[in-house]
Symmetry: C2
Subunit: 363 residues, 2 copies
C-alpha cells in the first residue's frame, strides 16, 4: 500500500487546551496541488469525526478519499489552482497523535490516559502544519461537521490566518439532542466488557459497542425522509435472515448492520470516545462569553455557511445562527440551505447539490 | 399494596396472529365508572409500550396512574359518565400473559420461547375483555402511541364494536426511522451478556442494556426543541459528577441517567423485546393490501386523530395519513395538530394542550 501521508512532528511539548501536555506530538496530513509564488492559494480542510487526511486520491495514493468528488484537479476544491491541505485531527488514529498512540513517557499507548481533547486542540495542532509549510495566510479554511467546529476554532484563534471560511453542516456549539446521542454512543462503547476501561489490547476492543455506536451514528447522520424513500417497509429476502426474530427482518436493519460491519476495525474505540466528547465540549461562547462575541473575534473576507434541511444532528437553525453571527461580525457571509434528503451525511453523498455551491465559492 | 387489577382468564387456547397458541391466557385490566342501562357508555383504552392497566387512581388503588390527569371523575375521560376500561397489553408484564409469564405447558417462564407477538394479538385479546363484560358496542376505543396501533387493529377486526376512535400520536405502520431506533434498542438489550439469550433468572436481566434502550427511548420520545429550552448547555454541579470524563457532565446526560434508573427493574426485558418488535411488524396495509384499503374496513361514527408537530417517532405526516384514510373510509374525522414541544411524549405531559381536545371529543 502506498501512502501520500506526510507527518509533522513537534519537538516541544504540546499544551492541551483543557490541561495536560503531549510529548512528540504528530499530525498527519496530505496535500494536493502546489503553492503559488505568493504562497496565497492554500486551503486547509478539517474532517468530520472519523475520516483520515486522505480526502482524495493522488499519485502517491490512488485509493479514493473520503471527499473524492469534491477535491482534486478540476474538482470544486481544484488542485490545479490551490494547494489543499487536509489534516487528520489530533485525537484520531490515522497518523496523528491520539489515544491509540504510544505515550513516549511510558512506552505504552495512552488509551484512557490521553488528556481531555478539545476541538481547540485540533485547530491549534493543524496550525502548526500551516506554519511548517510557511503559509502566512490561507486562502480558505474548510470544514464539514466536526471539521466546521475545528474551522471556527481555527479562525477564532488565528483571526488573520485565513481569508475565507466554508462551514458545512456544522455548529457553533453542541445542543443537548446531539450531546444525548453522542453520550449514549459512548455508553454503548464503555459498557461493552471488551472496552476494559479503555485498556483493550491493540487490534482488539469493544466491537459490539462500536457496532451499536455506528448504528446510532447512522440514525443521526441520515434522515427519516430518505429512509422512507429508500427502504419503506421492505423486508430482507429469506436467505439473508439470521433466524433471530429481533434482529434482521427489515431492509433498514440490514442497512445498519452493513454500515456497522464496514466501520468496525477501522476506527479505534478510545479515539472515538475522545473525539465524540470534544464535540460536546465545543462552544464558541467559551471564546467571548456568547456565541456572537466568540464569532466577533473572527476576521475573514468571506464566509459561506451551508446547511441541510433534513439534518437532525447539526440542524439548519444552527447554520442560521452561524451565518447571522458571522454577518454581524462584519464578514460578507452567504448562507445556503440545501434541500438534500440525506441529512447530516449530505456533504458526503449529495454531490449534485453540494458541488456547485462549493465550486462557486472557490471560482 | 392494594390493587384494582381485574383478570380475565381464557380457558380455550388463544391462537396468536402470526402462529402459535397461548394456554390459559390472562389479560389484566382496570375499570373506572359504571356501565349505563343500555351498556352503551364503555370506552376501551389501549396503552403505549410500557404502562400497566393502571391508567388512573381509584378507590381500590389510590396510587397515581400513567394517565392520571386524563382519566377519572370529571376528567376528559369522565368516570362519572363512562365506564372506562384499560387493558395491560398481551405480551406485557403487569398481569397479562407475556414472555415473563409461566408457560403452563412447561411450568417455566416463556422468556424467548414466547410466540411472535403482533399488535393484532393485543387487539383481539382485549376484545375478550369487552365480550366478558357483555358490551356489544363501545362508545369509543382510545389509544396513544402503540395503543393507537392496537386501536386501529381493534377497529379493523371488529368493525361494529366501537362507535368512535381516538388515536393520539400513533401510526398506520412503522416507518424505517422508528424501526431503526427500536431495532437498536433491542440490540442493546440482546448484546448485554446478562440477557443470556433471554434466559435470565426472574428479577435479574440485562440492566445495562435496558438502561441504554431507555435512554434511546427518551431521545426518540422528546424533542430537540424541548431540550434546548430545558437544558441548553447546562452542566451538572461538581458534586454530582461521577469523575468519568465520558459520562455525566451536561444536564441532559443526568436527565437521561435519571430516566434510565427510574425504568430499570420495572419492565421485563423480554417483554420489551416482543412489544418493540410487534410495533415494527404492524402495518394496516396487511389488512387489505394498502393502508387505505385496511382503513376502509373500519366503521365508526366519528374519529379524532391527534398528532404533535415535534414528534420524531410517530411524525405528524403519519397522523395525516391516518386522518385522510379514515375520512376516505367515510368516517367523520377530525385531525388536531398540537404544537407541543415535548415530542412523542406530549400525550403524557402536555396536558394543557391535550386535555381540552380530548374533553371536547367526549363532551
Amino acid at each position: 500500500m502506498t501512502t501520500a501521508r506526510k507527518i509533522l512532528q513537534l519537538d516541544a511539548p504540546f499544551a492541551m487546551h483543557l490541561g495536560g501536555h503531549l510529548q512528540q506530538m504528530q499530525i498527519a496530513y496530505e496535500t494536493w496541488g502546489q503553492l503559488d509564488a505568493e504562497r496565497s492559494n492554500a486551503i486547509l480542510v478539517f474532517t468530520g469525526l472519523s475520516p483520515s487526511a486522505h480526502a482524495a486520491s493522488c499519485e502517491d495514493d490512488p485509493s479514493p478519499g473520503w471527499w473524492e468528488p469534491m477535491l482534486g484537479p478540476d474538482k470544486p476544491l481544484d488542485a490545479h489552482r490551490y494547494l489543499i491541505i487536509c489534516v487528520n485531527s489530533l485525537g484520531s488514529c490515522f497518523g496523528s497523535t491520539g489515544p491509540a498512540s504510544v505515550n513516549p513517557d511510558t512506552g505504552k499507548p495512552y488509551q484512557a490516559n490521553f488528556p481531555v481533547l478539545a476541538i481547540e486542540d485540533i485547530a491549534r495542532s493543524a496550525h502548526l502544519v500551516v506554519e511548517a509549510l510557511a503559509i502566512e495566510t490561507l486562502y480558505a479554511v474548510v470544514g464539514p461537521s466536526m471539521g466546521g467546529m475545528s474551522a471556527l476554532a481555527y479562525c477564532m484563534f488565528y483571526p488573520d490566518a485565513s481569508e475565507r471560511m466554508l462551514s458545512i453542516s456544522s455548529a457553533a456549539r453542541s445542543l443537548p439532542f446531539a450531546t444525548a446521542i453522542r453520550s449514549l454512543q459512548r455508553e454503548m462503547i464503555r459498557t461493552d466488557p471488551d472496552w476494559r476501561q479503555g485498556s483493550y489490547p491493540p487490534g482488539e476492543g469493544p466491537i459490539k459497542g462500536m457496532r451499536m455506536a455506528r448504528k446510532l451514528g447512522m440514525i443521526s447522520y441520515r434522515s427519516p425522509q430518505e429512509w422512507v424513500q429508500r427502504f419503506g417497509r421492505e423486508r430482507v429476502p429469506e436467505e439473508r435472515k439470521t433466524g433471530d426474530a429481533f434482529a434482521i427482518d427489515f431492509e433498514i436493519e440490514a442497512y445498519l448492520e452493513a454500515h456497522a460491519s464496514k466501520f468496525t476495525g477501522q476506527f479505534d474505540a478510545n479515539c472515538y470516545l475522545y473525539l465524540s466528547r470534544a464535540m460536546d465540549l465545543f462552544d464558541v461562547a467559551d471564546h467571548g462569553g456568547s456565541v456572537d462575541a466568540g464569532l466577533s473575534r473572527i476576521k475573514l473576507r468571506q464566509a459561506l455557511v451551508v446547511g441541510v434541511e433534513t439534518d437532525i444532528l447539526f440542524p439548519l437553525h444552527q447554520q442560521g445562527e452561524l451565518a447571522i453571527g458571522l454577518e454581524s461580525a462584519g464578514i460578507e457571509t452567504e448562507f445556503v440551505r440545501l434541500s438534500s434528503l440525506q441529512g447530516h451525511d449530505s456533504f458526503l453523498v449529495d454531490m449534485d447539490r453540494l458541488r456547485p455551491v462549493v465550486a462557486k465559492f472557490f471560482a
